[in-house]
Subunit: 367 residues, 2 copies
Amino acid sequence: MPHNSLSIDYSLRYQRIKLRLMAARQDAIIVINMKNIRYLTGFSGSDGALLVSETEMILLFDGRYTNQVKREVTGIATAEYREKSEGIARIIGEKGYQHVGFEAEYCSFSLLARVRQRVDNGIQLSPLGELDAIRAIKDEYELSCIRQAAKIVAQAVTGIMASLPRNATEQDLAAEIDYRTRLAGAEAMAFATIVASGENSALPHAQPTNRVLSNGDVLLIDCGAVLGGYASDETVVFFIDRITEKQKLVYQAVKQAQEAAIQEIKAGVTARKIDRTARQVLAIYKLEEFFTHSTGHGVGLAIHEEPRLASISESVLLAGMVVTVEPGVYLPGEFGIRIEETVLVKENGCEILTNIPKIPTIINIGD
Amino acid sequence: MPHNSLSIDYSLRYQRIKLRLMAARQDAIIVINMKNIRYLTGFSGSDGALLVSETEMILLFDGRYTNQVKREVTGIATAEYREKSEGIARIIGEKGYQHVGFEAEYCSFSLLARVRQRVDNGIQLSPLGELDAIRAIKDEYELSCIRQAAKIVAQAVTGIMASLPRNATEQDLAAEIDYRTRLAGAEAMAFATIVASGENSALPHAQPTNRVLSNGDVLLIDCGAVLGGYASDETVVFFIDRITEKQKLVYQAVKQAQEAAIQEIKAGVTARKIDRTARQVLAIYKLEEFFTHSTGHGVGLAIHEEPRLASISESVLLAGMVVTVEPGVYLPGEFGIRIEETVLVKENGCEILTNIPKIPTIINIGD
């Protein structure tokens, strides 16, 4: 989708899932998560299934997607079904798979029950953990999508902030960001854009309200674009007309926590350590208790994916992973500050992929 | 959310799910589908669970939603969890439920396995079919939301069509529709707005492309707004600069099919009959084979819900149900026509809730 000459090496992706197949000692895996299916085949529909064996992948879809599959999928076997369990059971029978694993986090109890009913008694269906980690290391094509998504959204946000309209509500501003981002070529927003002003900024998962932006407000914006299926994600905080000493101090603390975390990021470091670093900096300022979520998450075809930068994460960062770094401090009833970049893990450090300058910018409401 | 004095009677909704509980002969039901949870409690978060017994409902949520639950939920017991299966198992244990049903279509294999591990051995967990049908009959509050959503989106679309900009792409037009709809107060779009021009209109599930709108194009727009959580849904077809005889004939056939179907709608009629009626009209024109999807679906908190107006549907229409009626004819490589209204089923007929006039309007590209 980005206007460049990069292409996707699906055979490499097939090798990745085959490693999982072999580790699970199955004849085949039923892939259910549509993000994994898109990653492995290019099919971007919202329903389907994929069977992966040691010799081939077979994409299963229903009649709504006949044209789309033709357009999007090449070099991979495909088969249409009337009902998903019927399609899955048919291929298992035809191919003679005996031991079949399935994505237990994404497979509903009903779908599994229907497949079980339709296949021969001897066939073993076994729950597998998530396969999502196969998507964690990005290739050049994926990075170019994320870079371009980040560029588009940065232009939209900075353009709007240069002349913030009078009497705009949080909802208006969110609509404006989305509008400009999409006119600039984004396929969609990566998630519902967060615009939180004043004390609403103290809610980590605020949804835009009809609150009118006013002088003295903290203005927190968290948004991302989708390009070629890939998401960007960043959070920037502005101050309307003025900034208080307290806001400045909290901003600097969060900024320092984020910079320390980013400084730590390179291949081989544990995700847990990045999270701990951010918390340790906030602890210096007695602000740790107000940082109520984890430090970051992988970004790609899904807005939240592997690895998680959390205190309980078991992940180790590897070159090519793309993660957010987004410490925040939320002072209930007062204001909140979150600063977020999307970064690419490299052998000896990391590269920031997002573009909006993360400085405590004071903006003005226009005439 | 609509500016009126209507309110939601949650006790009535609780009675509805209690009927299902009694029919299933369980001590409690684990509700997983977030639309059902919102319907029963008012909680609009994107993760959680609900336990329903004969004496109470208990909403389970994680720490991300503490504030939101306080704001949105009153008169219903709530409990926070660290991990969903832990929360569910804890309440089952505390309350001493022995026979517990769960929504098998929405419960992942993993979640069920984790709950099973955590509860006492004697406790029976039984798969239940969908509970979504409890939401099928709308009350006055729900109808007022849908009506207002439909009004907002109609104003946006007709406003844009009055002066279609030069060199606009399908993507631009979709962004413009969404922008105006949201500025007018919609919380979100009901689904990704479809703008399909020229031969793209022959794809029933087209996604907006960068194709530039030009004279001679069929222009199909399928969109809806969300207000108070409730969706509207309609499809309108315009003709840019001119209309061919063939386009006119197909339009009239689809319109006739839709009107015949709408004519049939009233309480007591089977959903299947509505679908058949639309097909029979298209068969007269030898166009039946180009109508490749079902005639309609329920609309409410979900954009696709019960009942389905399809040939295999078992549903009977009841007063208060809200359904789309949307026959279409798709001529591959040429053009497609779909005409869709959202209608309210009444005792002796139905009422159209959508507002854009469904006539073969010729529009012009501006300067």
